[in-house]
Symmetry: C2
Subunit: 418 residues, 2 copies
């Protein structure tokens, strides 16, 4: 029996980083309206000033602010009125001294004017004269032409994942197409002699294929395309054939492990046989999640560029497989393919009971959140290893670091949402 050192999450991450650093990933231009959830592939700078003209942010009268000096409720300043222009039209020429003109919210403030007095502080005496009851400062009621966004301003960094609100910002600067990273093709291989397809009625001893479904949903949520999904028996030869086939048509392979005796050993052998450098991580110092294997296959047939593929063997237990996906595989995909270094927002909460940690390993605990007065209450979900019901009632995970013996009730903890 070989005794191989397991890696901490950080160690495994560093190994992956070393192997995949500098990987250049395909980009493509897509229409703005189809880009939600995609990752931007270049720094985006504004090509223009926004609003592009001095725009009124109130309904009121455009004036020269210094001419309103001293105006008040009891001491109005009077202005001659000149015709206003329609919304969306250009104000030709310059507003003359002593004149005011009506501008609606969003309308253009005429040249010469530098502020807009809200209609509430004015009194139209007749068609030609307006009384202004309040003095205004320079730029009051006005958004100046480059105040919102200025030309050449950095808007988004490469790797940013496009949110619905970003679509609004990108529309505002006229980015009708966006350069984004292509979606890597991820294939999933579910192995296990006890695994049957979900449409089958499992006889005693068999269980349905949970992992390939959950992992398929997760990789798509991360922003990948689903390649092949293979459900195979837990035999070295079958695994080798399937991995070889899947390698030719995938950018990443996830193997969801069988539980048969010797499975881990032959999976490592099969991965090593596929190419160099082969297996780089023989297990994780994570509970649950220990039987995780990371292999890297460099394609030497293709001389044009060194194409490397990660083959990740995940634990057979759904909770462990999904946990390792969230902790290790998803960040890998985001960083390697999408150059995204944004940290997902985590939820803070107060731990509602004492928790013991796994000996010398990081411990991943499924938790349920409950809204309390100030912060969330975090309830650990207890359940035997392999229980899918943890996913049912859980909202996410928390981690106990390896160095800690446990966490006390009342500790503030981070929850990684499912």
């Amino acid at each position: 029996m070989r005794l191989l050192k397991v890696d901490t999450i950080i160690e495994a991450e560093n190994k992956l980083k070393k192997h995949f650093e500098g990987l250049e990933w395909r980009t493509l231009e897509i229409p703005l309206h189809q880009s939600v959830g995609r990752y931007i592939a270049e720094d985006i700078y504004s090509r223009e000033n926004l609003p592009g003209f001095n725009r009124s942010v109130v309904d009121g009268y455009a004036v020269r602010s210094r001419e309103t000096l001293g105006a008040g409720e009891a001491s109005p300043v009077f202005f001659d009125l000149t015709d206003s222009v329609e919304m969306g039209e250009i104000w030709q020429g310059e507003l003359e001294e002593g004149y005011a003109t009506y501008v609606a919210t969003g309308g253009m403030v005429p040249k010469g004017a530098d502020s807009v007095v809200m209609i509430e502080h004015t009194e139209k005496l007749d068609d030609h004269i307006i009384a202004i009851h309040r003095s205004v400062a320079n730029l009051e009621g006005v958004m100046s032409y480059d105040e919102d966004i200025s030309q050449d301003q950095l808007l988004y960094k490469k790797g940013h994942r496009i949110r619905p609100v970003d679509i609004g910002v990108l529309a505002a600067i006229g980015a009708s197409v966006v350069l984004v990273f292509d979606q890597p093709l991820v294939s999933i291989i579910s192995t296990g002699d006890e695994i049957v397809s979900i449409i089958e009625e499992p006889i005693p001893g068999k269980v349905r294929d949970v992992n390939s479904f959950a992992l398929a949903a997760l990789v798509q949520e991360t922003g990948c395309l689903l390649g092949g999904v293979y459900l195979i028996e837990d035999k070295a030869k079958k695994l080798e054939e399937t991995l070889k086939e899947a390698l030719t048509r995938s950018d990443l392979l996830l193997v969801s492990g069988g539980s048969s005796q010797g499975h881990k050993d032959f999976t490592e052998e099969v991965i090593n046989a596929l190419g160099k450098p082969g297996v780089i991580t023989h297990g994780l110092a994570l509970k649950p999640g220990k039987p995780t294997i990371l292999g890297v296959i460099e394609d030497t047939h293709c001389s044009c560029s060194a194409r490397k593929t990660l083959v990740a063997g995940l634990p057979g237990h759904p909770v462990a497989a999904i946990g390792v996906y969230h902790l290790l595989i998803e960040p890998f995909i985001r960083k390697t393919f999408f150059k995204c270094h944004e940290e997902p927002v985590q939820v803070k909460g107060v731990l509602m009971e004492n928790l013991a940690a796994g000996e010398g390993r990081e411990t991943l605990i499924t938790v349920r959140l409950e809204k309390a007065k100030k912060v969330y209450s975090v309830y650990p979900i207890h359940g035997k290893s392999g229980a899918v019901s943890q996913l049912l009632s859980g909202d996410g995970y928390m981690l106990i670091p390896a160095g800690q013996e446990g966490l006390l009730e009342g500790s503030v903890v981070d929850v990684i949402l499912f």
Copy 2:
């Protein structure tokens, strides 16, 4: 000038609830693997027990636990070994007294045995005899046949939005198709004489159409299908024609308001002309977000069922339009069409400065989150009304309730993520 009372968010919600209560919405069955993000349309109960058989959760030897009584490091108990069955196979018959058999993680525990001793606490003396060095309790190392999920257990309530992890749970119980709510068709009408298409170069005075793009992305994120997107000039006749056309082919209409004089009045008139009951909310006590109009049109031509459509007039300013969408329209869609009453997880944080509130109105403030030691720091983003740059650097919103004059630095606040 008519002075109409504006509604608080709660008042507007209650009006919507009154008008749309009991609306029955279409459902359909879709394949499990396409169901992420969809809303379940019926309570889902498990049709079977899980795991369905007594399953080992460790690699070890299945025994009768009472026969291990007194076993210890220095005082092993000896068992006869009998052949193990392959993973996924049925253990026929019953394990005889005094016997043990090897079971791998995930394997079936034979009838007769009630626990599995981890391999670490055993010593195989030869092919026929095993020494057990630890006593085990009933069900130790075993997940019993209905321990994870039991038959007829309620798994998901109607209205639950399917997460990637739920796909795993549903696969486990063999739910290869899921009954979900249909996706309502939402059409968006962007009005304004100053608005140009995003592919146009706006001349001074004009701005690009931000709202229809942002709203289209948002309604799809909520789970709707995008119907028509109309960009029209701010004229009553044009608006009426467009709304009439869109009404025939949409389940919800969003009108993103123009800023021209009289726009609000004629929008209300047009909505009232479309049918009864017409406008139910003439404005919101929300800053920004006041120029929000809610109208309800009941289709009386169709005698089979009372089809009601919400026509929501949103403010022209993107930040206000998106804020009202998040606060009012999205919850309406989730509750009315999808019967979803789950509250989205909010992020708590500590406010980093004093904030004044709008007079007598709820105040919506765009904020940026920064990770701090214990909880997030919440930084309000200041910007003139109508600035899209608030969306650029913001992570979400916070609300100051109407009764409060403001919030002090150091207050713990809820952030609704974009």
